[in-house]
Assembly symmetry: C2
Homo-oligomer: 205 residues x 2
DNA sequence: CGGTTTGTTTGTCGTTCGATAAACAAAGGA
DNA sequence: TCCTTTGTTTATCGAACGACAAACAAACCG
């Protein structure tokens, strides 16, 4: 595959990262193509040529977001030895990510387009699908804990516990958006983990 | 105060309720004045004459929302005899409200404008202020439990517990938005309340 | 070199945005 | 009745929206 024609004068990776930062700060509908073109340092027609429509660009942005900011929580789930440690580390990694000083204080997946104009329905459902993936990923990790023998729970318990911790993750994002500090989020996580032993001991509840 | 001039041909209360429904469904930026005028059955100029700007209208809408959908959770906090029962009933009232068949499945306060264009910063902060009021209201109810003798907790505990249950409320809204059923929310609430005894017994933690 | 391919710039498409001025309509007061 | 007051309709403002066509620029190929 030899390079043909005029080479690109901008780096698509850098431009995509710039677009990510702007969508992250202003939301999907709050970011215009003019905003994007200006921040990316190119004309809007170049955005269309390289990335397709605004919606296409946004989907590529969310893929990048998943492999960058989304990775630490996922890694925590994957690498911790027990289900309990995995959930706890995932919550703390999430809190770390949404209180970084150099980025907006919330999860992009959760808050850039929960509602909006009728014509952007597809974008909202795309994001909702990925949020539902969060739930599935957490549930799968709990199931692994059952298989590994470090967690005793029925399938119905797994559903409830997975949805519960997904709810906490999503609530944390609103808290950080409204100014909660890392320490305050840590206190919330401590509370959330206090439920664990009760939830996973068959005697109580 | 006698009626002077041409009387209004529409009912401002009904028009406000119609505006509420539209803002609720499409978010603040996703709802245009054209959408509003059409749904309210009047010209956009009549909206300006009666309610002021789009932002003024939205603030009036949120006041109405607070006294309607916002009331059941607040009443639960107020009327239940103990702090524990109050928190539990508040969570269930919230779940009831955000899964009603006739309205969108989320809390308007939380999801109609968490992010957006720079020029709507004031609207977002207005909503954030009211969300922070949620936290304060919950904390005040916990403090009343301490005063009533049905709850033993330090001031730092009150902060953490109040923020924790605020986080759960806000997470529930995202869950309902993404399609969680009332029964699934109930399971999440059961998990969230499982933390209560651990959090409020001085021995553990 | 000319020809082809690809990227970028410029300009503009039709639409919609929030907001308002001007014209018209319907009530009370004198 | 005519004036004043208030509400509504109509038309439109300038700006911004997402999207794209056409013209121009810079690389490789033969």
């Amino acid at each position: 595959m030899v390079a043909r024609g005029r080479p690109r004068t901008f780096d698509p990776d850098i431009a995509l990262r710039t677009a990510l930062d702007l969508f992250w700060e202003r939301g999907y509908e709050g970011t215009s193509l003019n905003d994007l073109a200006q921040a990316m340092g190119i004309a809007s027609a170049s955005i269309y040529a390289c990335f397709g429509s605004k919606e296409d660009l946004f989907r590529k942005v969310m893929a990048l977001y998943g492999t960058t900011s989304g990775e630490p929580p996922r890694r925590a789930l994957r690498e911790q030895p027990t289900a309990r440690a995995a959930i706890h580390a995932m919550l703390r990694a999430t809190a770390d990510e949404i209180t970084r000083p150099d980025t907006p204080h919330y999860c992009m997946l959760i808050l850039v387009a929960p509602t909006g104009a009728v014509e952007n329905h597809a974008v909202r459902e795309f994001l909702a699908d990925r949020r539902r993936d969060m739930y599935t990923t957490i549930k799968d990790r709990l199931a692994r804990g059952v298989a590994d023998g470090d967690l005793t729970a029925s399938p119905a318990d797994l559903d409830a516990i997975a949805r519960y911790y997904t709810t906490v993750v999503q609530g944390l994002s609103v808290q950080a958006r409204d100014g909660a500090t890392r320490a305050e989020l840590e206190a919330v996580i401590t509370c959330a983990m206090a439920a664990w032993d009760t939830l996973t001991s068959p005697a109580t509840q």
